[in-house]
Structures are given as structure tokens and as C-alpha cells.
Assembly symmetry: C2
Homo-oligomer: 209 residues x 2
């Protein structure tokens, strides 16, 4: 297997952490997003969507989304299970992953990419240029704050986002919170459980990656 | 089980079709989105995100995203498999679902919700109001057109989106194309394989729902 990563990118950090939690040793190829390597002809031939993560299997098949990469790894290397151990947990994790992606990760991305000076015309990742929409940046920031506030209720009395064991839902939320620091939106100070959870996850080996 | 649906909504059509393809008979509760029933206190207590689909299990657990509902149904009622029959197919379908959701469904939603007169301040589904951003509508329409163009390549020589059998990836793309007709963006005329595929899927019983 080969994992196309960018060590500073939250998009591929989802897969980086997942691989580490599975205890796998995967050949990793660094893609230099800062110098637009992802937009080069060479990388386009690997992933026409010009994004990381990309996971390439031994057979040469490539998956170009976190969800594709995660599903492959979960099925191929079932232990430890990160996408649920029973039906209910699997569905709950799927719910949380989707919710966090849409209400969290994309909200942060909207907030960041529609205003950052270095991202002019790069409001959306991928091969095509799209102009920044400053109003969308404001909305993304507002939505990120709402997402942050919601975590306390999702966590409830559980130790982890989807219940009593670590899962991909924790990776999803953890990476999204890290990404939100780029636009300076932290976990609310009074969200005690969320802050305690974040600290606990931060101490995992995979979280240092 | 209970399925909270709105018979005219593409968001819950994903689950409607999936249930039909599984051959299940599920108690369905119609939520009148047009008259804002989803924003009522009563529905909020069922789903605080104020959206359909919602799938409620026998045990009373509720899943509030297509991905959560699909995962539950796939695990609980494995036949016929709609989310992949082997590792590679599972991962490919996960990739396609995510891609279609982000590049297709959300692009259409942006196009529609940020301009439609009846959706003032409802640029995003959910409990909170967000002002329309007309520029985002234009961008959503442009992105929808790009998505439509991409289908021919995804389909390739296959009969179905993820290979040689019908799957949730077909539902994802089919419903998204139906939704795109709301903003009058059709499959490109010269996309022969996509048009033929669309016609084939349209003939399935589940597609009439």
C-alpha cells in the first residue's frame, strides 16, 4: 500500500491517524501542497481531484476520500475496529462522521478558504479554481462555532464520541477541532466534557501525527 | 422501525429508495417540510437537526443522516448488499457516496437554497437561519455542471456507478441528478453512457418513489 499524505494537512490527517490507530506501517508519500504539487500533471495522474488523502492498494486501486480510505482499511484490517463493533455502533459512527464532516470540517474549510490571502481563487480544493466568497467565510466561522457548541451534547456521559470506545468518530471530531484552530475557533471554555475528551485524545500516540 | 420521510424531499429519497431496494416494509411518517413541520417543537424533539431522513429503530435509537440510516439498514438487513460485496467494492462505494454528496448533492443545494425566493434565510437546512448568498448559488450551479460532466468517466464501461451491480452509489447519483433538475441542470446531452444509465435506473421500482 501507498498513502499519499501531506503532513500539515487536516484532510489527510484523518487517514494518518486511522493508520496509526490500526498499528499499520504504510509507505507514505509526502505531497507538497504548499508548493502546489497536488496541481501538477504528475499528481493529477494519481488523483484527478488533486487532493490528499489518497490510498493506493497493492493491486493499484486508489481511494481518494477519507471515507473510501477508511472503509478499505477497516475491512482489510479489522482489528482494532474503528468503525463500530456492532450494528448500532456502526450506524452511530456513520451518523457522527457525516455530521462532523458537513457541520464541522466543511464549515471550517469555508471559513478559512474564502478569506485567507494565500487561497485566492482556491475557495474549494480540487482541479478547478473558484473565487473566494467573503460572506461564506463569515458563515463558515459562525457554523463552526455552532458545531463546537454541539459537542458537549453529543459526548454526553460517554468517554468517546460514539460511546465507550475510541472510534473513527473521535478522529473525525479531533482533526476537525485541530483544523478549527486555523481560524481561531476553540472548544468553548465552559464545554468541560469536550475539553476533557480533547485532552484525552491528544495524549494518544496517533494524535501527535 | 419508523422512517420519517417527506415524499417530495431528495434528502430522504436516498433512504426511501434504499428501503425499497432492500424490499423492506417500514412504517413511514410524512413530515410536511413545506409547512415547516420540521421546525416544530414536536419534530425538534425527534430530530434536533430538523431534517429528514430520520430512521428510528425498534429500540428507539434514531439516525439522522442518510449515512447513518444506510449503515444501519445494510448491517441489519444484509440482502441484497447495497454497500459492497467485497472489500474493494465497499471502499469504492464509500468513495463515490462521499464524492457525490460533496461535489454533487451539496453543490445543487447551494445552487438552490441560496437563491430560491421561498428559501430566504434558509440557505442551510437545520434549526438555525442563515442568509442566502447569491454568489454561492452561482458557484453551486457551476459545480453541479462540473459534477454532471464527471459521471461519464466514473461510469466508464460499467453498467452501474461502482461496477457491475446496483449499489447505494447508484442511489446517491440518481437522487442527486433528480435534485439537480430543480435548478435545471441536466445530464449533458452528449454524456451517452450516463443518460443510458439514468434511464435504466429510472425503470427500477424504487426509482418511482
Amino acid at each position: 500500500m501507498k498513502f499519499y499524505d501531506c503532513s500539515t494537512a487536516p484532510s489527510s490527517r484523518f487517514v494518518r491517524m486511522f493508520i496509526a490507530e490500526k498499528g499499520l506501517d504504510v509507505e507514505t508519500i509526502e505531497v507538497d501542497l504548499r508548493n502546489h504539487e497536488h496541481l501538477s500533471e504528475e499528481f493529477r495522474s494519481i488523483n484527478p481531484y488533486c487532493t490528499v488523502p489518497v490510498l493506493e492498494t497493492e493491486e493499484g486501486t486508489r481511494y481518494t476520500s477519507t471515507q473510501g480510505c477508511w472503509r478499505y482499511l477497516e475491512e482489510k484490517f479489522p482489528e482494532p475496529p474503528l468503525m463500530g463493533r456492532d450494528i448500532e455502533e456502526k450506524a452511530r459512527i456513520a451518523d457522527l462522521i457525516w455530521r462532523t464532516d458537513i457541520d464541522g470540517f466543511f464549515a471550517v474549510a469555508e471559513g478559512l478558504r474564502n478569506k485567507a490571502r494565500g487561497m485566492k481563487d482556491r475557495a474549494i480544493t480540487g482541479p478547478n479554481n473558484y473565487a473566494q466568497i467573503p460572506e461564506l467565510s463569515d458563515r463558515g466561522m459562525a457554523r463552526t462555532a455552532v458545531f463546537m457548541q454541539s459537542l458537549e451534547g453529543i459526548l454526553g456521559e460517554n468517554d468517546f464520541m460514539a460511546g465507550n470506545s475510541f472510534s473513527a468518530a473521535d478522529i473525525m471530531v479531533f482533526v476537525t477541532i485541530g483544523f478549527a484552530s486555523w481560524i481561531k475557533i476553540p472548544i468553548p471554555e465552559d464545554a468541560e466534557k469536550t475539553n476533557a475528551w480533547y485532552k484525552r485524545i491528544s495524549e494518544r500516540k496517533s494524535a501527535s501525527l
